[in-house]
Amino acid sequence: MDNLLDRALGLDGRSDRWPLRGKLVLVEDCVETGGAFVIHHIIKRFLSPQSSAFSNNSLILVAFSQPLSHYDRVLRKLGCNLVAQRDNNRFLFFDMLNLRFPDREDAKIGSSVLVSLFEKIYNAVCALSAENSCITIVIDDIALMEVVANGSSDSVLDFLHYCRTLTSEFDCSVVALNHGDIYSSMEKPMLMLNLEYLSNILVRAEPLATGSVVDVHGQLMVFDKGERDRQGTSGSKIHNFHFRVKENSVDFFYPGGRG
């Protein structure tokens, strides 16, 4: 069953190939309106039986924010069993929560963590693509990755550039969550600007201008930059709609179209 978000992301087609192959999707949210549900939705669609019918879909989840138990419970209610997928080697969980608190502040320690993380991801991607797998890498979230890197946005940007090369080299998808309101007060938020430039699809979750309401949890803006051709970017589309998050699904609807 397709909904507005699936249509906006291009997931509503009947093609055998995962539509987000080779693309970088950036999800932005803020304190008032969390965007994690978009990540959960994409994970669920990717690992669902219809998507993986013709290809071996494998997901790598790099988690800085929540432990596996949280994702497992949330995805289970959405109809996706992460533990079973892990047992079938279709789901890899990289637990970044238990990184040691460094004894002293050192930029080198932070960047070395990211370097070894990328190595791990690269090795996993190589192994999976040898089996002709379609791979999606999910990063939750970039703001915490910056903290691990001790504030070195250069290290984080390097890491994300390298992930971008994976999309072209191995046809992976990369989906990352970041908190846009952290950067809104900065004059030159280099990391944010670079990320938005790098991404193919930008999904932004914001609160309603009129305040919070029980029936409508917020609004989503999906900006699909489309394919580049010789004349430049073409076919870019912007979608705007409202959403309401439930345990078992998320409702998406146009403003006033509730019901």
Partner: protein, 363 residues
């Protein structure tokens, strides 16, 4: 007095409640979470049960008023009543001194008099032939009442807890002013939380950590923003795998905006307290009961552990009042009837002219 309502999750799991109910002070909630009481029954109701075990509660302070201390005091006292070990960190030279200001729980004798008053009020509305049924119920609940087995107690803020009560408890204190680096505080938290590691079996007990005025200017790490964030990230990770709750207060006005936002995102439950200017005529016109209010409490985020559904509150800002000058209660803000003769519209009277913040109130 309107009571704040919360929406329960539409999906609830059948959890055998025997496991958690054997541990005093821990209650089971939806999605397999266990709750600790905040020590303020109104706040527990607003948050849908209390603070979930394994969560980080962040309170944003107002430099003009010490209301965050009320939240911390009730939180710590509640832990003492339930014999939950406590780790307290503050920028004071001698944090142990603060323990002397913790409120003591109201004993059951005082509770009876409170209840009888409300019962008599109710009695006026209940027809005489039904009074006999209510009388029976009241007697039963009083006899069962025992402070230790109540999930949330009432605390008398005018009466400090007795010294004997403190001496039998497992309380650790640490001053954040002296430590040159956050490594010492981190190690203390790590060793404290080791006692409460989450296991697959039943929980044996829960712990509480209260960190007051984190990043206060007198602390040496005040300027090292990334170090502070790294500490909180690590603390958050440790707490996720523990049966404990950390409450941390910090002054957002003294920190950079982006740093404050990063901290807010790391919080599971985010609260803020604001002072109420003393003689604000505009506010007095706008709200009922303005004279009794000591401050405002706003709930920005409610913990979403094991679920993706956000908690949307009908009202996000509550007034803090001291009932009978003893008990902290939270009430929804009620707009006073608009005075037709004054001619001011709701929109213009919404801004607080007296305060420096100028934020509008959220009803």
């Amino acid at each position: 007095m309107a009571t704040p309502k919360t929406r329960a999750s539409s999906f609830s799991r059948n959890i055998p409640s025997t496991a958690a109910s054997q541990v005093p002070g821990v209650k089971s909630g939806p999605n397999g979470t266990l709750f600790l009481s905040s020590g303020i029954s109104d706040l527990d109701k607003i948050l849908g049960g209390g603070f979930p075990l394994g969560s980080l509660v962040v309170v944003m302070e107002d430099p003009e008023a010490p209301h965050h201390m009320l939240l911390l005091r009730n939180f710590m006292s509640q832990g003492l009543v339930h014999n939950q070990p406590l780790l307290y960190a503050s920028p004071a030279k001698d944090p142990r001194g603060f323990l002397g200001t913790l409120p003591s729980p109201v004993s059951s004798k005082d509770d009876k008099s409170l209840d009888r008053d409300s019962e008599q009020e109710k009695g006026l509305r209940i027809a005489w032939q039904y009074k006999k049924y209510f009388g029976e119920n009241q007697q039963n609940s009083n006899s069962q009442r025992d402070n230790k087995f109540e999930y949330c107690n009432e605390f008398d803020l005018r009466k400090p807890v007795q010294r004997q009560f403190l001496s039998g408890q497992r309380i650790e204190c640490i001053s954040t002013q002296d430590s040159p680096d956050l490594a010492a505080l981190h190690d203390r938290c790590a060793s404290f939380l080791k006692q409460f590691l989450k296991t697959d079996g039943n929980i044996s007990g829960a712990g509480r950590i209260a960190i007051q005025s984190f990043c206060a200017p007198q602390c040496t790490y005040f300027e090292q923003e990334w170090r502070v964030l790294s500490f909180i990230r690590s603390l958050r990770s440790m707490i996720r795998s523990s049966n404990a709750v950390v409450i941390l207060s910090f002054p957002p006005s003294l920190l950079s905006l982006s740093f404050s936002k990063r901290l807010q995102h790391m919080a599971d439950t985010l609260l803020s307290v604001r002072a109420i200017p003393d003689e604000d005529k505009d506010l007095a016109k706008l709200l009922t009961g303005y004279q009794d209010m000591i401050g405002l409490l706003s709930v920005h985020k409610v913990a979403r552990i094991n679920t993706q559904v956000p908690v949307i509150l009908e009202a996000a800002t509550f007034s803090m009042k001291l009932q009978k000058r003893k008990f902290l209660v939270l009430e929804c803000l009620n707009q006073a009837p608009v005075d037709g003769s004054s001619g001011t519209s709701y929109a213009t009277s919404g801004s607080c002219s007296g305060s420096s913040k100028g934020r509008s109130l959220d009803f």
